[in-house]
């Protein structure tokens, strides 16, 4: 080892690496793995988030689901009769899966604000990783955590009388993965537009809950009814919101996979989610590169 000056008293094991071009793609891939790993490790260590992720579905499924169960079947509204061949518990279960995925996704996306200004992300922004890699790592990490929280709900399936098949679980995981990617991207898009943040409550109240409540996850729009009949049963504005809410279609396809009940064509849900994921990630990336 050649030392800088002859009067050097310290010995060092420092081994400078020859500065050759390492494969750009491999560096990005390693970095992507690092970013993803960090998100997942953080989530696993955060007991509060885990407790929230487990208790939320229990509350929704056990309390709300069981409590409203008797009022669900065979209701008569004027001329129209609802016949959804499921218990309320079964009906809202896929919605609760979506809710848990959404909560966790947005939660991890919100941490982008803090991370970017002070935390880890600042450090990453000055690394040799491209902005795309950084954002992709962050979103993939957040989606993975959200996916895990979605699976937590699936564990409760038997309490809701939902028979899970292996195929059904695989399909559900696939759908949850796309949904969590889309919602995490949405969270980042919102986070990028906010300069300060004082916690997660605002996001939860302004984004997640409205999306959830108008996604037909709490009540069905009866597919047997014509548009006119639907408008008789529900106010027009509500039907319009439900129909324009992309989450409606995500919940619907989850419902199709889990309890084999679809209000819309099954493919629409997948198409809407993939489109949302791509568009939202593109917007997030555009913002992120500019910032």
């Amino acid at each position: 080892m050649s030392l800088a000056s002859p009067d050097q008293t310290h010995t060092s094991t420092y081994r400078p690496q020859p500065r050759r071009r390492r494969n750009w793609f491999m560096v990005q891939l390693g970095g992507l793995y690092g970013l993803w790993l960090r998100e997942v490790m953080r989530a696993v260590r955060d007991r509060g988030q885990l407790i929230g992720g487990a208790s939320r579905p229990i509350l929704w499924v056990l309390i709300l689901g069981i409590g409203l169960n008797p009022y669900f079947r065979g209701e008569v509204y004027g001329q129209a009769t609802f016949v959804v061949p499921f218990t309320y518990l079964q009906f809202i279960f896929p919605g609760v899966v979506a809710l848990n995925v959404m909560f966790t996704s947005v939660q991890s996306a919100v941490s982008v604000i803090w991370d970017r200004e002070f935390g880890f992300l600042r450090e990453v922004l000055v690394s040799p990783l491209s902005r795309t890699t950084i954002l992709l790592g962050k979103v993939l990490g957040g989606s993975t955590v959200a996916l895990m929280h979605g699976c937590l709900v699936l564990v409760l399936a038997r309490f809701a009388d939902i028979p899970l098949t292996a195929m059904g679980v695989v399909k559900a995981i696939g759908l949850m993965a796309i949904l969590s990617f889309a919602v995490t991207s949405l969270g980042v898009v919102i986070a990028n537009r906010i300069r300060t943040f004082e916690g997660f409550g605002i996001f939860s109240n302004a984004v997640i809950m409205p999306l959830y409540f108008t996604s037909s996850s709490m009540f069905p729009l009866d597919p047997a009814l014509s548009k006119e009949q639907t408008y008789v049963t529900y106010p027009e504005w509500l039907v319009t919101i439900v129909e324009y809410n992309p989450l409606t279609y995500a919940v619907d396809s989850l419902r199709g996979v889990l309890i084999h009940y679809n209000q819309f064509e099954p493919w629409i849900g997948v198409a809407v989610m993939v489109a949302a994921a791509v568009i939202l990630f593109a917007i997030a990336l555009y913002d992120f590169r500019r910032a």
Binding site: R15, M26, G34, E123, F200
Partner: protein, 329 residues
């Protein structure tokens, strides 16, 4: 790598936020393997300059080069050579020290075997090997800073940027941080650019650049800066009354202070002290020199110490995090 290229070259760098001028035509070079201090009051433009150097902020005009690579045109090459310690702690509190360093290594594309080796080596350097598997939140703020310094050196950084590395630390931790920085510089070819507003810390740096209101007020060695801003005083007590009278007559133009009947203080410079000692060395007692402090130099250049202003959005968020707000750990 070309040894003749300065580690940092900053030329005519300007940046404004709206109508506020953060940097106003700043220029300086930092030669390799030097410790270069940026000294200035809060809001002087130090952090803006740091952010431009680490490529997260684009300058309005001017050039900043890191080891010859322009931070705007060649940011990836520039970043690859930088090790950065930010002003606010940026360790991941939920991960252990080793995990923090490991993820940094992954992100910077350090191959696994080298990563493991460097982590062990750097932890040893900052004397935190015993803490490697403890979660980062269990460390004191001084220890966290040390981990951050270790982290900045996991990859092949040639230039370390330290933004207020010792702010908020106790005297002992501050001293230690500087010890590590100096040891590192001996062991590894490392250029250090540090911003600080602790004047006593820059005494040991090779060069000090005083900036305020986005402009460079002075660049020099700490000693030269001191001399430039005030004269040295030579204080002594003459042995006999005859000596006293002779000295007073001879150097009446240099007389600065006459204390009581014994001590005399003369304005002096290095040459004067030498010739004075030649002639009167054996005729005076209790000889001392008083060197003006950097503090006086700094105050006379900037005219003040601190500047108050409203908290911006960033500081509001930081305060939220300090209160332990959600998603900030």
């Amino acid at each position: 790598m070309n040894e003749t290229v300065p580690a940092l070259r900053i030329q005519n760098l300007s940046k404004r936020y709206g109508r506020t001028v953060a940097l106003d035509g700043v220029s300086f070079d930092v030669p390799r393997n030097q410790t270069f201090a940026l000294l200035g009051p809060n809001g002087a433009g130090k952090t803006t300059l740091m952010h431009i150097l680490c490529t997260i902020l684009k300058p309005d005009s001017g050039v900043a080069e890191i080891a010859g690579f322009d931070v705007v045109k060649d940011p990836l090459e520039a970043r690859d050579r930088l090790g950065i310690v930010f002003q606010e702690p940026s360790l991941d509190d939920r991960l252990t020290v080793r995990e923090n360093l490991n993820i940094h290594g992954l992100v910077y594309g350090v191959p696994q075997s080298l990563r493991r080796e460097r982590i062990a080596e750097m932890l040893e350097l900052v004397e935190l090997t015993d803490w490697a598997d403890k979660p980062a939140r269990s460390l004191s703020s001084g220890m966290k800073r040390r981990v951050e310094i270790a982290r900045a050196l996991i990859h092949d950084s040639e230039i370390m940027l330290l933004d207020e590395p010792t702010v908020g630390l106790d005297a002992q931790s501050r001293q230690r941080i500087w010890e590590y920085v100096r040891r590192l510089q001996k062991e590894r070819q490392l250029t250090v650019l540090v911003t600080t507003h602790y004047i006593e810390e820059v005494e040991t740096c090779d060069q000090v650049c005083i900036i305020d209101n986005g402009a460079v007020l002075a660049i020099d060695s700490p000693g030269a800066l001191r001399h430039r801003q005030g004269e040295q005083l030579l204080k002594f007590v003459p042995r006999t009354e005859a000596d006293r009278i002779e000295i007073l007559n001879r150097f009446s133009d240099r007389l600065a202070l006459l204390q009581g009947t014994t001590e005399i203080a003369l304005k002096a410079d290095d040459d004067f002290i030498e010739s004075f000692l030649d002639q009167f060395g054996n005729r005076v007692r209790s000889l001392s020199t008083e060197v003006p402090s950097l503090e006086t130099a700094f105050l006379s250049l900037t005219g003040r110490k601190l500047r108050d202003r409203d908290a911006d959005a960033r500081e509001v968020t930081l305060a939220f995090g300090k209160r332990g707000g959600e998603h900030t750990r």
